[in-house]
Symmetry: C2
DNA sequence: TCAAAAAGCAACTAATCAGTTACTTTTGTA
DNA sequence: TACAAAAGTAACTGATTAGTTGCTTTTTGA
């Protein structure tokens, strides 16, 4: 194989292995040797491609955060048209979080570590939600007295929290809240709650 | 000083130092030497009082979880009487979380580590909320078609999430969401959302 | 085809850390 | 007061870990 491609492949394999390990055990407990082993790559290659353990970590974060952009673009493309729009936003976000479990975990680790490396991707998402709500207000489809920032924050947090406390609450309730059926129930509940709040009084 | 008291004091100092350190950096990054230094105690004392690093950790968790019981007892003592009850539950929970930042962080660390040591305290809290909502339904003060479990879960998660993602969202929004004023706004928002959802249609 | 450059590797190093040991000081009690 | 038990201490140990070094293999281009 060509040298450039080989090198790029190694880099890719390192990033994938690092994402799995950093997201599952966090930065402090992650072992560089474990990343190398999982990637099927010599440890030195990690230092050849990235400066340090922190270097790999921030590269992983960048990669993972960037995936949110796709969802953000979807949200930005929506026109606020009422209940249906909210349903789509929530179910799209749930879908994103379901298919990106390492995003959820890395956000949480980052948060506990004082958000050392927050990227712009999550900021854009909030802005997109705010703009959407605002356009809803202008069209008279959303209550005019709404605090747009708080509401956008809530939408984000309420969806996210269905994932972020999964383990503890699953143990407490004695059922797997990560199961598709439970998550669907949760998405529906969050959507209904939201609609009840943001739609103008009839 | 008396031997028993001296020993108990040392144990206390260790637990306090360990709580600060475990909650701020998590189990993996916490250093036993750092706990000893912060407690102003010889490292060996940690091993004299607790078996191992894990031993101290689980003792800390037990201590911290037990503080939730007080709030749980408050909730259990309430009678559902409508909007005012919801307001009190939310503001009491916010008050608890504000004055117990290490509870929030330890719950999050635990969650990321697969909830190794979940205790009964959080379970009792959920049960209390469910019972309260149920009694509201029976009195006709709460919508009868409510999914009590989902709603209790939401109440819990929505309050908790105001704290759990503070760092990342503070950075994104460029303001300190941990400030009292911001938290008060958030509590009010959550309360209003909740009321809109659970109260029966007029 | 062949040398230079890039990629890959195994073995090493210095630092860090959980846990231990062997010892001294303090305290309670007979 | 004397002595045994408990509390406290400092220095050590073995294992682990991030990061390095010096070497071999593979690939590229003239």
């Amino acid at each position: 194989m060509e040298q450039k491609k080989k090198s790029a492949l190694t880099r890719q394999k390192i990033l994938e292995a690092a994402e799995e390990i950093f997201s599952s055990v966090g930065f402090a407990a992650a072992r560089v040797d474990a990343i190398a082993e999982r990637a099927g790559v010599n440890k030195q290659m990690i230092y050849a491609h990235f400066e340090s353990k922190e270097g790999v970590y921030s590269a992983v974060l960048e990669r993972v955060y960037s995936r949110l952009s796709e969802y953000q673009d979807t949200v930005a493309s929506y026109e606020f048209e009422g209940a249906e729009t909210v349903k789509r936003i929530v179910s799209d976000y749930f879908a994103f979080l379901i298919s990106n479990p390492s995003f959820v975990r890395l956000m949480l680790w980052e948060n506990l570590n004082g958000a050392r490396y927050v990227q712009q991707a999550p900021a854009a998402l909030l802005d997109g939600l705010k703009a959407l709500l605002q356009s809803g207000i202008e069209k008279g489809l959303v209550r005019a007295d709404l605090d747009v920032e708080q509401t956008a924050l809530s939408l984000n947090l309420f969806c996210f929290s269905a994932f972020s406390n999964q383990y503890t609450f699953s143990k407490l309730l004695g059922k797997d809240l990560g199961a598709r059926k439970e998550l669907a129930k949760r998405a529906e509940h969050v959507t209904q709650m939201f609609l009840g709040y943001i739609l103008p009084e009839k």
